[in-house]
């Protein structure tokens, strides 16, 4: 079963990362990398991606006079996607366990405990009968 694990944050949350020490950042990144490595080892890895800073985000709402209607204005409270993992696992519980590990990745000495949204993929195929 394929799941996507979403890591999100508000603009303020992302800004607070700027206060982290280089060491904190490296420790955090190292843990995330080891999770990806473990997923490669277990044969569950499908993809992972980091997204650019929310400052570069745009939203498009339709067209006007043949041109996209674009702006970069978002509510302060908006949760921006920062990155994701896509995994192929045998059970939903396994997806939650992986998400739990991501959530436990340390920041400034303690687990960040960031909430990770877990969503199952829809697929362009018929449901299997079992």
């Amino acid at each position: 079963m394929k799941y996507i694990l979403l890591m999100s944050g508000t603009k303020a949350g992302v800004a607070s990362y700027h206060d982290w020490s280089q060491k904190d950042i490296e420790t955090h990144m190292a843990v995330l990398r080891s999770i990806t490595n473990d997923l490669n080892g277990s044969g569950e890895f499908v993809a992972t991606q980091g997204l650019a800073e929310p400052a570069e985000a745009k939203v498009v709402r339709g067209e006007k006079n043949g041109m996209p209607v674009t702006d970069g204005i978002f509510p302060e409270s908006k949760e921006f996607l920062l990155g994701y993992w896509i995994v192929d696992v045998a059970t939903p519980e396994r997806a939650y366990a992986i998400a739990g590990r991501i959530s436990a990745a340390p920041g400034r000495g303690a687990p960040t405990n960031m909430p990770i949204e877990v969503r199952r993929f829809a697929a362009y195929e018929q449901s299997k009968s079992q």
Partner: protein
């Protein structure tokens, strides 16, 4: 390494390679007594063949060629192992003599493919491991092909196969046929893996643009091979029949816009009559044997559907009787769901709805889209459109299949329009 005469590489060559793979693996694994390394070596020989044969032609003795290349790889590995450990062993001198190609080729046991099938479907393996390893070791598919079929990266699939082989090594399974007692467990496990491969292939054949390997065809091929090796078993024949009778409907299942077309609306002229005939023939022969197992029963149900010239000609009483039998032999929530539909067709939708109620408390179906989908269908039959629409929409929100979601939403919309008129 040049064979005396070569044949040109053509459309049958890939198929030939795949057929030879388990034979080659059996021979090499047996000689070197190391299934895991042999499997890697054979995989490399296959890749070499895929690279060289299209250009140099197919060797006169393709199987011998593959065995020789794989064996060379194995001896190279053994030699480097020996060199690494810096000691002489008898093994090194044993494999030193590279026999002539034809001599090597005679060391092929017809049981090997069956042995491999049992090994790769060992109950100790997870389903996804068993599927991956079976497709590679028995099916002769490359890692890339299998990865593509399951829409995962090649490295991920390679790792799954590697771990599967480690599990087999750890379980100490010897390279040989299971005993008659063991077979009682091992054969159903193998059939289950083949069934899962077929299911995966059948489900994904909807996404026509995805250009994936035809897993359903692969499953049919492997099951055919299994039947040739175990001709007396009713369930092997039953599984093959089930696959053929199901696959026969493939062309009618999707519309021009990739939309799902349910059984009762399919254009039956698009059904594959040859597959249906073969399926029925297999089934008739299988049912004459002693015991009737779940695959034979499911095949029989498929046969009743496939024999009806039009949806309204379907012999529902026979299907109902078969589901009642299946419920005793192999009960499951899905069987109960299908039984309810059959009961509705014979005794009226209220009877079907009554049977569904027994599933409301079944934890295995909690939140499962099919319960709502079937309920919606029966409520529609009863004429309770408002509640049917509600359940179609709930089912649509719960399914992870995009074509099914589209189908369920449009059913609801269709009913909503009928309700108003």
């Amino acid at each position: 390494m040049r064979a005396a005469m070569t044949k040109p590489w053509d459309t049958t060559s890939e198929h030939l390679l795949r057929e030879l793979a388990p034979q080659v693996l059996g021979s090499v694994a047996r000689r070197f007594r190391d299934f895991s390394s042999a499997e890697d070596a054979v995989q490399e020989a296959m890749i070499a063949a895929f690279t060289q044969w299209p250009q140099e032609g197919v060797p006169e003795n393709p199987r011998g060629w593959l065995i020789q290349v794989a064996s060379r790889r194995m001896t190279d590995q053994v030699r480097s192992e020996v060199a690494r450990r810096q000691r002489e062993t008898a093994v090194a001198s044993d494999v030193e003599a590279t026999a002539h190609v034809d001599e090597i080729d005679s060391d092929v046991d017809p049981d090997d493919t069956l042995i491999l099938l049992f090994m790769c479907c060992h109950p100790a393996l997870t389903s996804s491991s068993a599927i991956a390893l079976t497709l590679r070791a028995v099916g002769g598919l490359t890692t890339a092909e299998i990865a593509n079929a399951f829409l995962v990266p090649e490295a991920t699939m390679a790792q799954r196969i590697s771990r599967a082989k480690q599990s087999i090594k750890a379980s100490g399974v010897p390279f040989g046929l299971p005993s008659p007692q063991e077979r009682a467990v091992r054969l159903p496990a193998a059939l289950h893996v083949l069934y899962l491969i077929f299911n995966e292939g059948y489900a994904s054949s909807i996404g026509a643009h995805l250009q994936r390997l035809d897993l359903a065809r692969e499953a049919i091929r492997l099951t055919r091979d299994a039947k040739a090796l175990i001709p007396e078993d009713g369930e092997v024949a039953g599984l093959l029949a089930l696959m053929l009778l199901t696959d026969a409907r493939r062309a009618a299942r999707t519309g021009p816009d990739e939309e799902l077309i349910p059984l009762d609306k399919q254009d039956r002229t698009l059904w594959d009559r040859a597959e249906i005939s073969e399926g029925i023939e297999l089934l008739t022969a299988a049912l004459s044997k002693r015991s009737v197992g779940p695959y034979q029963l499911q095949a029989a149900i498929a046969a009743v559907h496939d024999e009806a010239p039009r949806a309204q000609d379907t012999d529902w009483p026979q299907i109902l009787a078969l589901y009642e039998l299946l419920k005793r032999v192999s009960p499951s929530p899905m069987v109960t769901l299908n039984h309810a539909i059959a009961a509705a067709m014979v005794h009226g939708p209220s009877k079907g709805l009554e049977l569904l109620r027994t599933l409301d408390t079944d934890a295995r179906l909690a939140g499962h889209y099919r319960l709502d989908a079937v309920r919606a269908h029966l409520l529609e039959m009863v004429g309770d459109y408002e509640i049917a629409i509600k359940h179609y929409r709930i089912a649509a929100s719960r399914t992870t299949s995009i074509p099914e979601q589209n189908y369920l939403m449009t059913q609801a919309a269709c009913l909503a329009e009928r309700k108003l008129s």
